[in-house]
């Protein structure tokens, strides 16, 4: 999205990012329910179904809601990263070497911007878990997030404590994974060096 260079698509992607950035996850969820669930009736408005197929089917809208609330940060940082790598010396070099514009963008700019993308994505997963917490409640999905909210509203201290720790461990694990992926994507980073 951010890679398109024409003025119009740049504005569109910026406006989109700026609009979605401010939408609370539950509002996005509610809008999706209204549009695709109630009015068009394509997807279930909530619940989780009873077998695997129904699980997946009822996860479409929640997934979309979480994705929509997560992508603006990614759009913004990818745009910034692409801007940087487009004006970097190696891009100029690739161009002056006679590579086509397309090749340069794909092989040089994207690969380097992608490194930033990976780490942002890793950090975002932490936020994503929080967003999922909200969305789970909107769509009445029996996940850890709804469990936490139920426990909070029932003032069940033990469950809240346990879930907080579990969430913490999950996020730390994801961060660790990000570091590992990072070292694969970017040959300059070596773990344990």
């Amino acid at each position: 999205m951010a890679a398109k260079r024409s003025a119009a698509s740049a504005i569109v992607s910026r406006v989109f990012a700026a609009t979605v950035q401010g939408m609370p996850a539950f509002f996005v969820g509610t809008l999706l329910i209204l549009l695709l669930g109630v009015n068009l009736g394509i997807f279930p408005v909530g619940g989780y179904g009873s077998n695997f197929g129904e699980h997946l089917y009822s996860l479409v809208l929640p997934g979309l809601a979480v994705a929509l609330t997560t992508c603006p940060v990614l759009i913004r940082s990818l745009t910034a990263a692409l801007n940087d790598s487009m004006s970097a010396e190696y891009t100029n070099f690739a161009l002056s070497k006679g590579l086509s514009r397309k090749r340069t963008v794909i092989d040089y700019a994207f690969r380097n911007a992608g490194i930033t993308g990976v780490s942002i994505l890793g950090i975002q997963v932490g936020h994503l878990v929080g967003g999922a917490l909200v969305v789970e409640n909107v769509f009445a999905i029996p996940g850890v997030g709804s469990l936490l909210m139920e426990a909070v509203l029932a003032r069940d201290y033990d469950v809240v404590q346990a879930l907080t720790v579990i969430f913490g461990v999950l996020v730390v694990l994801v961060y660790l994974l990000t570091d590992v992926v990072y070292s694969i994507v970017d040959p300059r980073v070596r773990l344990g060096a």
Partner: protein
């Protein structure tokens, strides 16, 4: 130390190598000789900073509406009229009434005031706290840095919403605990941003000059280091306000934030969702779009400020 986990979340500044990376939006200043290859922002946006102005106008209009609106809409936002619930829009109730017969427009205006004030005020403490801790960590390094940044790591090990919800849960509902919860969590981002800035500043000539001319450390910090980091903090503060609006509205939506019957947008949306099945979409859509508009304006202002305040190095 591994870079990916410790970079400022909102800015996306991450890169390998020891130096604090400077990835943030190099749109305007980094134009190279191959001008056809600089990415998106069209020239007129860059020249006139339209984003900043559009954002400011939208936000100003919204604030004006919330500020003087209640002077014209004199209905008590909490007065119930149980014989007149879910009334369609009329001259007496331009946006209709809710499930207790309360005037939706009046609740919208009063609720917006509460949400915006909480969101803006809840930026101030983290901003100050983060700037102080971040500059200390960056300037002194060593164990000060280790203690402060490990503290920051601990806070950011928990998902943002989980931590805020749990803190509010422990302290009880209400504005006070929202402030404390947000402050306890969101100073981390400011501290990271400011620390990164200070790490660069510390090595520059003008700081060496200050030290050589015998200025005291507190004076260098307060007069020469911190003023140079403020602009980055302010830029982040814009998206932080957006985040805070989201938090306040979400907490109230779950019945953990602003205590009823005080009107606020989150609670209105929760009410609205419950009665959405009966076709009363207005209850949820008005506050919802208001949140989106305010956040949109703030995002534009943030983008505009980034282009204006970004240090030209």
């Amino acid at each position: 130390m591994s870079e990916p986990t410790t970079s400022p979340t909102a800015t996306g500044a991450t890169g390998p190598g020891g130096k604090p990376p400077r990835t943030r939006g190099g749109t305007a200043s980094r134009a190279t000789p191959t001008a056809r290859f600089t990415l998106p922002l069209p020239a007129f946006l860059r020249r006139h900073n339209l984003q900043l102005w559009i954002g400011a106008v939208i936000l100003g209009a919204m604030v004006l509406l919330l500020a003087i609106g209640p002077l014209f809409v004199t209905d008590d936002p909490n007065r119930q009229d149980l014989l007149n619930t879910f009334a369609p829009s009329s001259i007496a109730h331009p946006l209709g009434t809710d499930q207790l017969g309360r005037d939706v427009l009046s609740r919208f205006l009063h609720g917006g005031r509460v949400d915006l004030i909480v969101a803006v005020v809840a930026v101030i403490v983290p901003f100050i706290l983060g700037t102080i801790l971040g500059s200390l960590a960056g300037y002194f390094g060593r164990w000060v840095d280790i203690v402060i940044m490990r503290l920051a790591d601990i806070v950011s090990a928990f998902p943002f919403y989980v931590l805020v919800i749990v803190l509010v849960f422990v302290m009880g509902n209400g504005m006070g605990s929202i402030f404390v919860a947000i402050s306890a969590v969101s100073w981390v981002a400011y501290a990271r941003i400011v620390r990164g800035e200070v790490l660069v500043l510390r090595e520059q000539e003008f700081i060496s000059a200050c030290r050589a001319s015998g200025l005291s450390t507190p004076r260098i910090l307060t007069r020469h280091i911190i003023p140079n980091t403020v602009s980055q903090g302010v830029i982040y503060a814009m998206s932080d306000i957006v985040l805070n609006i989201g938090v306040v509205v979400t907490l109230s939506y779950f019945g953990m934030g602003i205590v009823p019957p005080t009107a606020d947008w989150g609670q209105m949306m929760n009410d609205g969702q419950q009665y959405m099945g009966t076709g009363n979409y207005g209850l949820i859509l008005w506050p919802g779009f208001a949140v989106v508009i305010v956040s949109f304006a703030l995002a534009l202002i943030g983008d505009g400020l980034t282009n204006t305040l970004k240090p030209k190095r």
